[in-house]
Amino acid sequence: MQDKSILNRKVQPRIKDAIDFNLELKPCQRFTLDNGVEVYAIDAGAEEVLQLEMVFFAGNWYEEKNGIAAATNFLLKNGTSNRTAFEINEHFDYFGAYLNRNCYNETANFILHCLTKRLGDLLPVMQEILTDAVFPEHELDIYKQNMKQRLEVNLKKCDVVANRIIDELIYGPEHPYGKNNTLEMFDHLTTGEIKQFYQRYYQQGKCIIFVAGILPLNLASLLNEYFGKLPFNKNALPDISFKINPAKEKKQRILNDPDGVQGAIRLARHFPNRHHPDFKKAQVLNTLFGGFFGSRLMDNIREDKGYTYGIHSYIQNHLQDSAWMISTEAGRDVCEATVSEIYKEMKRLREGEIPADELLMVKNYLMGSILGDLDGPFQIIGRWKNLVLNGLDESFFNESVQTIRSVKSEELTELACKYFTEDTFYELVVV
């Protein structure tokens, strides 16, 4: 079938190269509550909704026993002196709000999504949780039982097992980035330790607030009323450091499920954090290598060979040490072929020149995706949060954009020679 009109469908309409777009991170309002808690706010959006995130330095970095930080975070909203877990949930549900919590390595959060008009009804209970959580014994018992069951199911999945082991290999099983929960670990958790952790790292912890959406006019006074008088930020955080203890043997093959039809493949090597001068260029190289749908890994291993539904590479978002990771699930019989194709793509980057049109496409893609990602208050505050927690400011964002525009193919080849060396990679296949 051919189009009869004079329209030339073979030629792409003229485009403005995305690298010529002006990308700006929308500035953030900043203020400080009476107790010194910093607040970052973005007032924007098309709907009358907001997101309020309280970040505490209460990740597993600070726990003395494996599992305490995550359990404390999970059980925060499971009871105060005045309210049961059910009553707390019912309160937030009634106002159509979502109160979630997540525990990471250095930080843990407490995050509210609600209609802007409901904020005033929700803050008092958030305050109650941060001053008077009681961690009932029976709630911990249910948590232990259900988390153990969930873990048992997860350990049957090759991707979960691979994610656990690759982190252990890179950082060592004692390091906060490398340690994993275990069935026995849950048995040893006690409410005494949880309460202690809560007191030190939440009640009297270090807190930063990030809020975005259509904000009420009296936001600052509301936050001050409910959080500005709490004893946050009084005690300096303990200075805890961990030494990385990587595995000696870099290559591992594990049979987790004899009937498995796929294997989870993880390749990873150490990489410094985002303060390192190579980081910004490495993000461009990563995108070209395995960071988007048009990457070399996708092109070769999915779109040419059909070994997998998807393959990705990324640099882990850790505050301290990090790792460059390649991750995929491939057919069981093509796992080894996939690993060798990944190395071939590394070699091709080390030894071959990156064609100018390919690099331009990657740059355009990156610029367009940042432009699209800056569209929306939650996305903008997410970028700010990442900067703040990493001890960076908007100049990092601007320099990253500048790097995308200006980085040359020789520089990426140089970087590939430095980092994409086979013997530095840990290599794991879990079937």
Binding site: V49, A85, E90, G96, L115, D259, G260, Y307, V362, L371
Partner: protein, 412 residues
Amino acid sequence: MIKYERFELSNGLKVLVHQDMSTPMAVVNVLYDVGARDEDPTHTGFAHLFEHLMFGGSVNIPVYDEPLQNAGGENNAYTTNDLTNYYCQLPSENLETAFWLESDRMLSLAFSEKSLEVQRKVVCEEFKEHYINKPYGDAWKIMRDLAYKHHPYKWMTIGLELNHIEKAQLEDVKRFFFKHYTPANAILVVAGNVYLDQVRHLAEKWFGGIPPGVKYNRNLPVEPAQQEARRMVVKSKVPLDAFYKTWHMSARMDQRYYVADLAGDMLGGGGSSRLYQSLVKEKKLFSNIDCFHFGSTDAGLFSIEGKLVKGVDINAAEAAVEEELEKMKNTLVDEKELQKVKNKTESIMAFEDMSVMSRGSSIAYYELLGDANLMNTELSKYQEVTVHDIQRECQQLFRAENSNTLHYLAES
């Protein structure tokens, strides 16, 4: 209130335009009125496989992704039992590239053997990753087969079996394309930093010359009302016993759909829901339990699924679920509890409408249902629901003869 304009090209392509000048981006969303329910029972998984082939080059453009990425764009697609949706987002200055790409693949695909061969493998890996190589991965395949005897919701979008995908031929691909991927069977939504006149001009220029094709008239077998309870027990190498139960519910456009949706939220939506509170927290029979439905266009399944605490007898667990359902049938719920789930619904809708991309796909979806303006009036359909409606709906839904039960047990 989401505003939009609508016009139709002479070839039958419906075009809707939603302007939002607060974003620098534009979204182009093309929805095709074809899903897994339109497949031949011996060629299942085709609508979804086809979605993959749509990225394998079109008649005049050898590759889809590269020109879009050069224009700073991103794209993706999804297939459900009811529809197939393609969307891309790019800086609005480069809007025309999206028209060029989308119109060429509506005109005709490249139909390359290589692309078919590779995507067959990719989809087989997707199948394995999600439905074979995961504990409980086949539970919904079994449940659909139990609950539907006639209607094509019998199979999942990924397909009934790997073999159907492996044997797909290029001739099948062509037939499917010219039957379903035509202007008469598509809805185009353009949203974001765009002007109506601009979209009208571009739509005419790029899509106007595509032959209309034949409007596909769906004539699917109707699932007769179920007459007796169906039960099934399977044993598998999983760590925990799991419980699945479904009941036939109303089609998407029926007012009863909204009532069932709210009843489902009361039973299984969040930390204060009935099933969670009673069965996970108080009786400790389940380690997790969920209540949901698929939002299907034709009559769908109202579903409860959960994993049992080790040592609990599955019949006792099922009896406890039934006890909660009996309460819904026999006692009027509190006004306050009804208000709670209405408030949650209002809130979810507001969050869903935040991004231009999701507004674009919502407009296309509601237009497919009959009228894009439904997205603005739907909340009032929820507001109209009364506690008596909830009780009546639960009485109609939770009848034994309307139910399908699957006990998915751990091999000891």
